[in-house]
């Protein structure tokens, strides 16, 4: 079929999914799958995620979510009964490679045309015949705790090169993953990641759960983004129920999300300074972060704001006096952070480490389809809060923070800019916090399909959900780290091994959110 015809009036046109952001959904035939992806790419779309499910007995579906400047496009490919392969999008969207490998690991569906057919999330602990996301996976007779020893790293040939294996256990207090460097002297010529060490089988655990009880698990897909995941999941449920949240609930959710962003940015900025040998930055920024976490505990009841968002609203409300406290501390931090930013910006030793390190130029960022904080640092103006201004960002607009050189210094600058933007936004919001209820009953139908998407501090976090008989039939939480881990492999090229911690920290991607 002609591409534009497919777009304008294909066999099944797009239907609109109710929710605070525009989401269009349509079914696609296998023969049109790649053509549609190409059309979307030409229209400037980014691939946000690709995942699969078993719909009925041995009847599989592949889902892909794309984002353009004006909408999200959720495309469903229903495979014919018993077909266990699908056309790959890896040639069109490079970040599809690993996600399709994960589909093969978890569902046993082969991406046809994906040059990389190695396992990704599956290590040596269970056989390839065990497919956890199938309705009836092969019974587990031979589960083991074996390490992953025979993964085929690609490496580079050459007698004068050497390899440095790092991980899964790292030197600092961070999550586990394996990095394989190929170096010429100090210079990194190639980096290959091996992830999946924190795979906990979250998607399988979610299947069959009560949709309200599942909230606890969704809030722990990636602990540093608990608000974003809980919100995205609640949004999916609310779109199935077709309800419109009260203004105050939306506003308070926004407040929680921005405070999550603040805490993470402050911690990462401090850690970046520390990785560059400036312990002063870590101490100062951690002190402010700790004050914020304690305030979270005091006012919201949890340091990381876990389990506060619930379907239909929030489990807490703010009193007038607490609003005043929040405003006072926000203004105090803003002052202190302004002094600190200036001081750190002029620190020659720190600049020397940050500027020109770990660069992803804007044109490469377009090729990769980068979004989120890292994308904005490479000049990519994607930010759901600004693009679509979903409530509460419609009434309280958010400014976008951009930089263009795409190096560690740019990511540093964008983080600082977002810290100030979030603090200003919090101040505006608290000045005119909408009144009314912050929770409403959620009449949930027992069958339905929905999707929620939120701009977390790393980038777009979404949760796709399908209910059947009042239970979760399939739930896929998706972390932006999926699309950014492959970019990190490119960002370190031509830099030296000693700069890796700095570059890695500037992205600070989630292992848990990716490994699921």
């Amino acid at each position: 079929m002609n591409e534009e015809a497919l777009w304008e009036n294909g066999s099944a046109p797009f239907r609109v999914i109710a929710g605070p952001l525009p989401i269009h959904q349509r079914d696609v035939l296998a023969k049109d799958w790649q053509t549609l992806a190409q059309t979307l790419r030409r229209r400037g779309a980014r691939l946000l995620g690709i995942w699969g499910e078993e719909r009925n007995d041995r009847q599989y579906r592949i889902h892909a979510l794309f984002l353009t400047a004006d909408s999200c496009y959720w495309c469903n490919l229903a495979l014919a009964q018993g077909v266990e392969g699908f056309p790959s999008l890896a040639e069109i969207f490079p970040t599809a490679v690993r996600q399709e490998r994960a589909i093969a690991d978890l569902l046993g569906l082969r991406p046809q045309g994906n040059a990389d057919q190695r396992p990704w999330l599956r290590h040596a602990a269970w056989p390839s015949t065990f497919l956890p996301l199938r309705a009836n996976p092969v019974p587990l007779t031979e589960l083991s705790t074996q390490g992953d020893t025979d993964y085929a790293f690609q490496g580079l040939p050459g007698d004068d090169l050497h390899e440095i294996p790092v991980g899964p256990v790292h030197a600092g207090t961070i999550e586990p993953g394996h990095f394989r460097f190929t170096c010429l002297g100090e210079q990194i010529l190639r980096l290959e990641e091996r992830l999946g060490y924190t795979h906990k089988g979250i998607e399988r655990l979610l299947q069959g759960q009560d949709p309200f009880a599942a909230l606890v698990l969704l809030g722990r897909v990636s602990g540093d983004s608990t608000v974003a995941y809980a919100w995205a999941y609640a949004m999916a449920l609310e779109s199935i129920a077709g309800v419109h949240l009260p203004e105050r609930a939306q506003a308070l959710r926004g407040l929680l999300l921005e405070r999550e962003r603040l805490a993470n940015h402050l911690g990462d900025l401090g850690a970046l300074g520390n990785d560059a040998g400036l312990a002063f930055a870590l101490t100062q920024l951690l002190a402010i972060k700790e004050e914020m976490l304690r305030e979270n505990e005091r006012i919201f009841g949890h340091r990381y704001l876990m389990d506060l968002i619930c379907p239909g609203g929030l489990t807490m409300d703010l009193g007038a006096d607490t609003c005043q406290q929040l405003r006072a501390s926000g203004l105090r931090w803003q002052q202190r952070l302004q002094d600190l930013e200036l001081l750190l910006q002029e620190h020659a030793g720190l600049r020397d480490r940050l500027v020109g390190t770990g660069t992803i130029a804007p044109d490469r960022a377009v090729d990769w389809g980068m979004g989120g904080l890292a994308g904005r640092a490479s000049g990519q103006a994607w930010d759901l809060r600004v693009q679509f201004a979903p409530a509460p960002y419609d009434r309280f607009p958010m400014e976008i923070s951009l930089a263009s050189s795409g190096d560690v210094a740019s990511r540093w600058a964008v983080r600082f800019a977002e810290v100030f933007a979030s603090l200003r936004w919090q101040e505006k919001l608290l000045q005119e916090l909408p009144t009314g209820a912050c929770k409403m009953p959620l009449p949930l139908p027992s069958v339905g399909e929905g999707l929620g998407i939120v701009e977390g501090w790393r980038g777009e976090i979404f949760v796709a959900l399908r209910l059947e008989a009042g239970r979760i039939a399939r739930c896929h939480p998706h972390d932006p780290s999926w699309s950014l881990w492959p970019v990190l492999e490119e960002a370190v090229l031509q830099d030296i091994v000693a700069d890796f911690p700095l570059i890695n920290k500037s992205f600070n991607l989630s292992y848990s959110g990716h490994d699921l």
Binding site: A125, T198, G201, R204, S222, K289, L340, L343, S512
Partner: protein, 162 residues
């Protein structure tokens, strides 16, 4: 330099008083100081956030004689978080084996203590004690830094003799 000093001066001392430990103090090897090696065995990363917070200026980690090391060869205490994912089991065992004796294991977080919300998954082994002897447990999701600190102090005060 002067401005850095001035800022540091302005921040001043933010530390809290040390939490008191529940166990009586015995004079044993390492009872005053120990080195910790942390391994994430599949956590959701919020436990890591609290361990990182523990290293901040509000908590007197080093004042309590405790310090994190990059290598298990230098460590006395193995601090484990997460529900022990199958994929991390071998690496965790290797880390434990690489530590010199005497050594102790501290399980941090509901996941590491009981398997938590991931307990029933095919991909996890559940509590850390299915693989290693656990000497102290710190419950919470995630436990607060002061709770982790007091668990560490309990281990110190029990001494590290095997």
């Amino acid at each position: 330099m002067y401005r850095i000093l001035r800022e540091a001066w302005r921040l001043g001392k933010v530390g809290d008083p040390m939490p008191s430990s529940s166990s009586p103090k015995k004079a044993t090897p390492f009872s005053r100081s120990a080195v910790i090696r942390h391994v994430d065995a599949g956590s959701c990363n919020a436990c890591e956030l609290e361990i990182q917070a523990l290293g901040g200026p509000h908590y007197g980690l080093e004042q309590a004689g405790l310090r994190f090391a990059a290598s298990p060869r230098h460590a006395d205490i193995l601090l484990v978080t997460g529900p022990l994912s199958r994929h991390m089991a071998a690496a965790l065992q290797d880390t434990y084996d690489a530590m010199p004796k005497p050594k102790k294991v501290l399980a941090v977080g509901d996941c590491a203590c009981t398997g938590g919300i991931f307990h029933d998954s095919y991909a996890v082994l559940g509590p850390v004690e299915t693989l290693l002897p656990v000497h102290e447990r710190c419950l919470g999701c995630p436990p607060k830094p002061e709770q982790i600190l007091s668990s560490l102090q309990n281990l110190l005060h029990e001494g590290l003799e095997q």
